[in-house]
């Protein structure tokens, strides 16, 4: 089972086409293993990027050095996944 401990989802707001292109290029860098949950569309539209824990520093540095603003949408993905799994198990145990 793939675990996502420490992975974050970043909400990124590109302000121009150049930054959009940069984000798209970021998505193509296979070694970073990032995953766009919401792809970069146009300036002013948010995009959401899941970043594996080992790539976090590199991605954040790249965003900051290019003046691309972002916030952390999901702090630790695995925590949410664990909650979801727990809710499913609980639901299955409940007699209906």
């Amino acid at each position: 089972e793939q675990l996502f401990v420490g992975d974050q989802v970043l909400r990124i707001m590109a302000s121009n086409e150049e930054q959009i292109a940069l984000l798209r290029a970021l998505g193509e860098q296979t070694e970073l293993q990032v995953d766009f949950w919401r792809h970069p569309a146009s300036p002013g539209h948010p995009s959401d990027l899941r970043v594996p824990f080992p790539s976090l520093q590199a991605v954040k540095t790249l965003l900051e050095s290019n003046g691309i603003s972002y916030s952390i949408m999901i702090q630790d993905l695995q925590k949410l996944l664990d909650e979801e799994k727990k809710a499913m198990a609980k639901s299955r145990r409940t007699e209906r």
């Binding site: 996502f4 995953d35 919401r38 792809h39 569309a41 948010p46 639901s91």
Partner: protein, 307 residues
């Protein structure tokens, strides 16, 4: 009985497939289950047919879960199938639609990916086909259709989440729908349901050229979104795929529109990014309820405006 199925919870493929049989058993004169093909890993591709009879009636198609990790969509699909079955004979609009048209609903359009999200990788989006010459698995089934296939807005890299695949319809999950739609020949509305970001979109995605029916589709989308928002105030944007989000080639509804299915739409359900694909189960029913209002607008319009 369907009354023991918890629509407010997420379920595995086996649970959903078992429930489909109980839905059929509970509504024997209305609901039937068709197998339209098999997935890459040989799972059955099932479609629920809701029909009051007649041969080759015009029809409405709904599918959910073509991107497997978008769990809110499969959950909404199950709720919707049950809702349609229960409302026939009760709700005048649903009754009129089903008295004249059939509804086909594919709840798990990407079963291999869905099973994989439960067993190995909750974030899996694509199919599970092996790509020759690459260690990366899967094709994006919403880039694999014969509509601007391989153009901008799809990736040629098998490692990308938007990999278009080696050729159009390479994925059996896509091919099965293509064959079904083509053989049926009388599908008048096609609605493909995704999540997230709260959008109602219509063709095209592969080009910024507006479709000939742009104005009509825009007006239907506006009405549908107004109905959807009336329940909980959920905010939706609407427009063509290209102008509202981004260029995307080889998408489902671009192909269906080009096949002559005028009322082709694609949804992006809740949310706008607080949880993304991990939308809590407590939001399944509100999401399905509001989506239902929009679906009814599109279905009713399809009935009232034959072509």
């Amino acid at each position: 009985s369907t009354s023991t199925f918890d629509f407010a919870s997420y379920h595995t493929i086996d649970e959903i497939y078992d429930w489909m049989d109980t839905l059929v058993a509970d509504h024997p004169g209305l609901v039937s289950k068709l197998q339209i093909g098999q997935s890459y890993e040989n799972r059955s591709l099932y479609v629920l047919k809701l029909s009051t009879g007649g041969s080759n009636r015009s029809a409405i198609w709904l599918d959910t879960g073509i991107h497997s990790r978008e769990w809110i969509t499969q959950a909404t699909g199950a709720w919707t199938a049950n809702k349609i079955a229960e409302e026939y004979g009760q709700d005048p609009s649903v009754t009129a639609i089903l008295d004249n048209m059939d509804i086909f609903l594919e709840i798990i359009a990407n079963p291999d990916g869905f099973a994989y999200t439960h067993s190995s990788n909750r974030m899996w989006r694509k199919t599970r086909s092996i790509n020759a010459g690459s260690h990366c698995i899967g094709v994006d089934p919403n880039r694999n259709w014969e509509a601007g296939f391989g153009g901008a807005g799809a990736s040629r890299s098998p490692c990308s989440e938007t990999y278009h695949g080696p050729y159009a319809n390479s994925e059996p999950e896509v091919r099965a729908i293509v064959d079904f739609v083509t053989n049926h020949g009388n599908i008048k509305a096609f609605i493909s349901i995704h999540s997230y970001s709260q959008l109602l979109l219509y063709p095209y995605g592969y080009t910024n050229t507006p479709v000939p029916d742009h104005e009509e589709l825009h007006e239907i989308a506006e009405r549908a979104v107004t109905a959807l928002s009336s329940l909980y105030g959920t905010s939706y944007e609407y427009g063509s795929i290209y102008t509202t989000i981004y260029q995307a080639s080889g998408t489902t509804v671009d192909w269906t529109y080009d096949q002559g299915i005028k009322y082709s739409f694609t949804f992006e359900l809740r949310d706008t990014g607080r949880y993304g694909f991990l939308l809590p189960a407590s939001q399944i029913i509100p999401t399905a309820q509001e989506t239902w209002l929009a679906l009814k607008v599109i279905m009713q319009y399809t009935l009232d405006h034959p072509y």
